[in-house]
């Protein structure tokens, strides 16, 4: 999905990235073609700024399908739900 909710296909043939900081379940590179902070293709840039920001932010996009997730931040931890790929916690 786009940042506003429209679904987009995965970028075919793009290099893959690994899990971003804060994720409980590490994903394989093949599973995470999207940046979970900005929602852009992981291959579109180094996303170093996103990785740095993610130390103080929960993920907002599903790294597998780019859908915006429903994120609940709690005093201790967070949960993020992708309608397609389920819940992750950190």
């Amino acid at each position: 999905m786009t940042p506003t909710g429209e679904r987009r296909p995965n970028p075919v043939g793009s290099p893959r990235t690994g899990a971003t900081p804060g994720d409980v379940t590490s994903r394989s590179a093949v599973d995470a073609p999207w940046c979970d902070r900005c929602g852009e293709a992981a291959a579109s840039g180094p996303h170093e700024g996103c990785a740095a920001a993610r130390t103080l932010e929960p993920p907002r996009y599903c790294a597998r399908c780019r859908r915006r997730m429903k994120v609940q931040v709690l005093p201790v931890g967070w949960s993020a739900v992708c309608v397609e790929h389920g819940e992750s916690r950190g």
């Binding site: 932010e57 996009y61 609940q72 005093p75 201790v76």
Partner: protein
């Protein structure tokens, strides 16, 4: 020693009378070489008029995102292309969050909702949530639900909410640059009703929204006029997709100058570190602020962003020999 600090030593430290707008501006304009002296004086003022205890609080978002207002700093506005989606917290999760907060030693738990003002659904959720927390957790419950009607104020008092947060966010003259969907005066009216109800007033704002130093001083003076029980001091953490998303983070020394100045304007208030301190001040700056006028912290995460682990802040307080305020001291 700059004249303003000599004046503050007599007026604020000895007599407990806060600096006026001109005095605050003079502190905000102090050159870097006098910053340490300003912070030391602010710390003395805090110790003299508030004592050494630090009030620890946790906050949680009961209703996130989808807000109809256009506060330009906020990622929860439904009017911007922010990635934050609307989500509600259920009661069991709310109680769990309150328990986790209490386990850190915090005495305050603030329930926050991103709304213009509460509707019937939100008030029902609050009623059930506050009752469940009060039944299971030893902690003071505060709330932040936007603008209220008199009936809602009365209902919150009846629920046992002891403090209500409603930030003015910035000074009156700059507010229209930050929010256009409601006015500063509307916020003030809610604060007036809260004060008259007997609930404690919690009112602060965000520095680094683009206001001038003069407007920062105006804001401190307006808060001092309100005389809130607590002033949460946030520093802008620019959020993607918001109108202020590209603003620079406030300079760390300016943030520390503001902490000292706000303390010297309000010697008796609870001055709380809130959002943005991690990116503005870092660990060293956080320590400087705690020895420069701050006497309360939000521990753990914020509403949509993450904070330092509570254990890190509690260790820092221990290192600084600043005791955490006990629940018995707040009742």
């Amino acid at each position: 020693m700059p004249e303003i600090l000599d004046q503050a030593r007599t007026q604020v430290l000895e007599n407990g009378v806060g600096l006026d707008q001109a005095g605050v501006l003079a502190v905000l304009n102090l050159p870097d070489e006098h910053l340490t002296a300003a912070l030391q004086l602010a710390h003395e003022v805090r110790m003299r008029w508030c004592g050494p205890e630090v009030e620890v609080e946790g906050i949680v978002s009961l209703k996130t995102g989808g807000c109809p207002e256009d506060c330009h700093f906020c990622s929860q506005s439904g009017l911007f292309t922010s990635p934050v989606r609307s989500v509600w917290l259920d009661i069991p999760s709310l109680v769990k969050a309150a328990k986790q907060t209490a386990e850190t030693g915090a005495t305050e738990f603030c329930i926050v909702a991103a709304v213009r003002g509460p509707d019937a659904r939100l008030m029902k959720q609050m009623r059930e949530g506050v009752a469940a927390i009060r039944a299971e957790v030893d902690i003071q419950v505060a709330a932040s639900l936007g603008m209220l009607t008199q009936e809602q104020v009365d209902e919150l008092v009846e629920m046992g909410v002891h403090r209500y947060n409603h930030n003015l966010e910035t000074c009156r003259s700059y507010f229209p640059n930050v929010v256009t969907t409601h006015t500063w005066e509307e916020r003030w009216e809610t604060l007036r009703m809260v004060r008259e109800s007997g609930m404690e007033v919690c009112c602060g704002g965000i520095l680094g929204l683009g206001e001038t130093v003069e407007q920062r001083a105006e804001f401190a003076a307006q808060l001092a006029e309100l005389d809130p029980h607590e002033v949460p001091l946030n520093f802008l953490n620019p959020r993607p997709g918001t109108p202020l998303g590209d603003r620079p983070v406030i300079d760390g020394k300016d943030a520390l100058r503001a902490i000292a100045a706000f303390r010297l304007a309000m010697p008796r208030t609870i001055l709380r570190y809130a959002g943005g301190r991690e990116i503005t001040l870092g660990d060293l700056g956080t320590r400087d602020g705690l020895l420069g006028g701050i006497n309360a912290v939000i521990v753990g995460n914020y509403l949509t962003t993450l904070g330092r682990p509570a254990t890190a802040d509690l260790k820092l307080l221990d290192d600084l020999k600043l005791p955490v305020k006990a629940l018995s001291a707040t009742l």
